[in-house]
C-alpha cells in the first residue's frame, strides 16, 4: 500500500488531542468567567442604581413581623432577621422529620401490600400508588389546605377525642407536656438506655458469631428503652404533666396547637412521597432472587427468620439509596409550603424578608445554601450507607 498520494499528516500543535483539550478548556473557562464577570458587574450597577444596600448587615436588624409557628422564642418587636432565618430553618427541619417518618411508615406498608398474596390488598396498594404519584404535589397541598382542612368546623364545634384532643379549622390542639424539675433525669435515662442497647447489640452479634446462639435483641432493647425512662419517671415523682386545652370564648387556650398549614403540608408530603418509597420497597424485595428464599426454606428456617435474615438484608441494599433520595425530595418539596403560608425557610426568608429588605441576591443565595447543605449532608449519608452495605468480597 502506497501512502505517498495522501496529504502529509501534519503534526501541528492543534492536532494533538492533549493540546486540543487544553485549548478547549481554556476557552470554555474564559467564556464562563467573562459571563460571570459581566453578570456581576451589571448586578452591582443595577443594585447601586436602585439604591439597595448590599451585604449581610440586614441580618442584625429587627424583623417586626409575626410568625404563626416558632420552635424558639420569637418576638416580633425585638427579634432580628437572623432569628427569622433560624425559625424558618427549624420549621423546615420539623416538616422534614415528621414527613420522613410518616412517609416511611406509609411507604413501607403500601410497598409490602403491593406484594401481598391478598389480591384485594395488592390492588388497593397499586391504586393508591398510581393515584397519588400522578397528581402534582402542589395541587395536593392546596387541596388539603383549601378544601379538606378549611371544611373543618369552627373551634366551638370542634371534633374532640377524649376531651383532650380537638380538631377544628384552627388546627389540631392537644395536651401540652410540661417538664418540671427532675424531668431531665428521664432524658438521661433514655440516653443511657440507648447507649446500653448499642453495647448489647454488639455483644449479641459477637456471641452469635462465636456460639451461634440467638439473643432476642429486639424485644430486650425495646424493653430497656421503654422501661428505663418509665422507671425514672415514677422514681422522680412524675415530673412531666400535661396542660389540657380548654375552650375560652372563640378559641382554645393552652395546649399544643398544630397549625392547619403544617397539617396540610405533612399530609400531602407524606402521602405523595410514600408512593415513591412504596415503589422502592417493592423493587427492592422483588430484586432478591427467589432462589435465596427457597434455599433458606430448604435449610428449615422459619418464615419470619427468612424475612429478617435472608430477604431484608439483601433487599435493603436496593431499597435504601432511592429512599434516601426521596427523603431529600421531600425536604425540597417542603419549600412549596410558601403557597399556603406555612412559615418555613422559603416563606419567611425568600418571601416576607425579601419583601421587607429587598436584598434579593443575598436572601435567595442564603435560602439556596440551606438546601445545598441538606443535599450535601444527605448525599454524604448515602455514600456512607452504600459503603457500609457494599457486598464484601473475600
Amino acid at each position: 500500500m502506497n501512502n505517498s498520494n495522501l496529504p502529509p499528516t501534519s503534526s501541528g500543535i492543534f492536532n494533538s488531542p492533549k493540546n486540543r483539550a487544553i485549548i478547549f478548556q481554556v476557552l470554555s473557562l474564559v467564556v464562563v468567567v467573562l459571563c460571570i464577570f459581566y453578570f456581576i458587574n451589571n448586578m452591582f450597577d443595577n443594585v447601586a442604581k436602585r439604591g439597595i444596600t448590599t451585604g449581610f448587615s440586614f441580618l442584625g436588624e429587627t424583623a417586626g413581623f409575626g410568625i404563626s409557628q416558632s420552635l424558639i422564642p420569637y418576638d416580633d418587636t425585638t427579634s432580628t432577621f437572623l432569628d427569622v432565618f433560624i425559625v424558618g430553618l427549624l420549621n423546615t427541619i420539623l416538616v422534614g422529620v415528621i414527613g420522613i417518618v410518616l412517609a416511611s411508615i406509609i411507604g413501607l406498608m403500601v410497598g409490602i401490600g403491593r406484594l401481598s398474596s391478598n389480591y384485594l390488598v395488592a390492588k388497593l396498594s397499586l391504586v393508591y400508588i398510581e393515584t397519588f404519584r400522578n397528581i402534582p404535589i402542589l395541587l395536593q397541598i392546596l387541596f388539603w389546605y383549601n378544601v379538606v382542612l378549611a371544611a373543618l368546623p369552627s373551634p366551638r364545634q370542634s371534633i374532640s377525642y377524649f376531651d383532650s384532643i380537638f380538631i377544628n379549622n384552627r388546627g389540631l390542639i392537644m395536651p401540652d407536656p410540661i417538664f418540671e424539675s427532675g424531668s431531665s433525669f428521664i432524658l438521661v435515662a433514655f440516653v443511657l438506655a440507648c447507649i446500653s442497647v448499642v453495647f448489647l447489640s454488639k455483644w449479641a452479634t459477637k456471641r452469635h458469631d462465636l456460639t451461634g446462639e440467638e439473643f432476642p435483641l429486639f424485644k430486650v432493647s425495646l424493653a430497656i428503652i421503654i422501661v428505663a425512662p418509665l422507671l425514672v419517671f415514677f422514681i422522680t415523682g412524675q415530673p412531666i404533666s400535661a396542660e389540657y386545652p380548654a375552650l375560652k370564648g372563640f378559641n382554645f387556650k393552652g395546649g399544643l396547637t398544630i397549625i392547619p398549614e403544617l397539617l396540610a403540608l405533612i399530609f400531602a408530603l407524606s402521602i405523595y412521597t410514600a408512593t415513591y418509597i412504596a415503589e422502592a420497597v417493592r423493587a427492592g424485595i422483588e430484586a432478591v432472587p427467589p432462589g435465596q428464599k427457597e434455599a433458606a426454606k430448604s435449610l428449615g428456617l422459619k418464615e419470619h427468620v427468612i424475612l429478617r435474615k435472608v430477604v431484608l438484608p439483601q433487599a435493603l441494599r436496593v431499597i435504601i439509596p432511592p429512599v434516601i433520595n426521596q427523603y431529600l425530595n421531600l425536604v425540597k418539596n417542603s419549600s412549596l409550603a410558601t403557597a399556603i403560608g406555612y412559615p418555613e425557610i422559603v416563606t419567611l426568608f425568600s418571601g416576607t424578608t425579601l419583601n421587607q429588605v429587598g436584598q434579593a441576591i443575598e436572601i435567595i443565595l442564603m435560602t439556596m445554601a440551606v438546601y445545598l447543605v441538606f443535599s450535601i449532608v444527605i448525599s454524604l449519608l448515602l455514600n456512607w450507607v452504600n459503603a457500609k452495605m457494599e457486598i464484601k468480597g473475600r
Binding site: 450597577d45 443595577n46 442604581k49 397528581i135 395541587l139 410558601t338 445545598l372 443535599s375 450535601i376
Partner: protein, 359 residues
C-alpha cells in the same frame, strides 16, 4: 376379549378451581388474610359509593347556579368557566389559534416519524416551534396577544413543552461534559452546575429567575415574566436530563467508543452517529419519567404569579358571582393532571417493552 376405551377425564375437584377456589386462595387463605380482605372491602364500600354519588349521580350538570338542589358536585361551574381553565385570559375570538397549534402538534407527532427525508424532517422540526409561537403570540398581521393573557391548560402545556424541548440539547451537552474525563475543567464546570441545580428546590430557582435574573443584565433589558419562568425551568430540567442521559452514556459498552475511534471518526461524529443514538434509546423510559416530573412541576409557576391551570382554580373562585366552588375546581384540575401523567407513564412502559432488546 376385553375392549378398552378411553374414559372421560374426571373434572378437577371443585376445591381446586372456580371462583370459590380463587377467592379462597387469593382473599381468604388464612385468618390474617381474611381480616385484611374484609377491611379492604369495608374501605371500598366506605369510599367508592359516596365518591361516585358526589361526582356523577348527585352532580349537577346543567342549569344555572340558583337552580342547584342536589348534594353532589356542581359541574356547571366548570362548564361555565371552561374557557378560562383552558386558555386563561386569551381573547375568546382568538381561541382558534391555540386550537390550531394543538392540531398542528398532533399532526407533527404523527407525521414527522413517518417522513423518509432527513432534510425535510430537520426543516419541519426547526420551523415547528416558530410557527407555534407565531400563532399563539401573533404578529405579522395577526393580532398580538401579550403573554400576560396566556393561561390555563394552554400555559401549562406550553411551559412543559418549552421546558422539555429547550432543556434537551443543554442536557446532552452537560452530560457529555460530565463524561469528558480528559478535560477536568469542563467536567468540573458541568458537575458543579448539575449538582447545584439538583441540590436546590425548583421554587428557589424560579425566585432566582424572577427576582435576580433581571439584575444580571444591563438596564433597559425588560424581561417578560413568562420568559423568566421558562429560563428557570429550562435550566432546572437540563440538569435532570443531563443525569438521565449520563446514565445512558455509562451503559454503552466501552467497545462502542473504541470502535468509533478506530474507524477514525472525530469526537462529534462518533457521538452523533454511534454513541448518542444508543444512549438516548436506552434512556427513553427515564426521560419520560423526567418529563412527567416536569409536567407536575409546572404548577410551581403559580407561585411567581403566572396563571397556569392550577392558579385558575383560585382565580375563577374570586368571581363574586361564583364563590365557593373550590372543590369542583380542584377535582377537575386533578383529573386533568392525573390523565396526562398516567397516560405518559403508561406510554413509557410501552416504549420500554418495545425497545427492550435483551431477552
Amino acid at each position: 376379549m376385553a375392549v378398552y376405551t378411553m374414559k372421560e377425564a374426571k373434572p378437577a375437584p371443585s376445591t381446586s378451581k372456580g371462583v370459590v377456589f380463587w377467592m379462597r386462595e387469593n382473599l381468604f387463605s388464612d385468618i390474617h388474610n381474611s381480616l385484611l380482605t374484609l377491611l379492604g372491602i369495608y374501605f371500598i364500600y366506605a369510599t367508592i359509593p359516596p365518591l361516585l354519588d358526589w361526582m356523577i349521580f348527585d352532580a349537577t350538570w346543567s342549569g344555572t347556579k340558583e337552580e342547584v338542589v342536589k348534594e353532589g358536585a356542581r359541574w356547571i361551574f366548570i362548564i361555565e368557566k371552561f374557557d378560562q381553565f383552558m386558555y386563561g385570559f386569551y381573547p375568546e375570538s382568538l381561541h382558534w389559534r391555540p386550537n390550531l397549534v394543538a392540531i398542528l402538534s398532533l399532526v407533527f407527532v404523527f407525521l414527522v416519524p413517518r417522513l423518509s427525508s432527513i432534510k425535510v424532517k430537520f426543516v419541519i422540526m426547526i420551523l415547528y416551534p416558530f410557527v407555534c409561537f407565531f400563532l399563539i403570540r401573533g404578529g405579522l398581521g395577526l393580532e398580538i396577544v401579550g403573554t400576560e393573557k396566556w393561561g390555563g391548560l394552554m400555559l401549562t402545556i406550553l411551559v412543559a413543552a418549552v421546558g422539555i424541548i429547550a432543556s434537551f440539547p443543554i442536557g446532552i451537552l452537560l452530560a457529555l461534559g460530565r463524561q469528558s474525563d480528559n478535560m477536568p475543567v469542563v467536567k468540573t464546570l458541568c458537575v458543579g452546575f448539575i449538582e447545584f441545580i439538583r441540590g436546590v428546590p425548583l421554587i428557589t430557582i424560579l425566585f432566582m429567575a424572577s427576582v435576580v435574573l433581571p439584575l444580571f443584565f444591563s438596564d433597559g433589558l425588560e424581561f417578560d415574566k413568562l420568559l423568566r419562568a421558562l429560563i428557570g425551568i429550562t435550566l432546572f430540567q437540563a440538569a435532570y436530563i443531563a443525569e438521565v442521559i449520563r446514565g445512558g452514556l455509562q451503559a454503552i459498552p466501552k467497545g462502542q467508543y473504541e470502535a468509533s475511534e478506530s474507524l477514525g471518526l472525530t469526537y462529534w461524529q462518533g457521538m452523533i452517529l454511534i454513541i448518542l443514538p444508543q444512549a438516548l434509546k436506552i434512556s427513553i423510559p427515564n426521560l419520560v419519567g423526567s418529563f412527567i416530573s416536569l409536567f407536575k412541576d409546572t404548577t410551581l409557576v403559580l407561585i411567581i404569579g403566572l396563571f397556569d391551570i392550577l392558579a385558575m382554580v383560585t382565580l375563577t373562585n374570586s368571581d363574586t358571582s361564583w364563590l365557593g366552588f373550590e372543590i369542583e375546581g380542584y377535582v377537575f384540575v386533578t383529573i386533568i393532571y392525573w390523565v396526562f401523567c398516567f397516560s405518559m407513564s403508561q406510554y413509557s412502559r410501552v416504549i420500554e417493552r418495545r425497545y427492550n432488546t435483551d431477552h
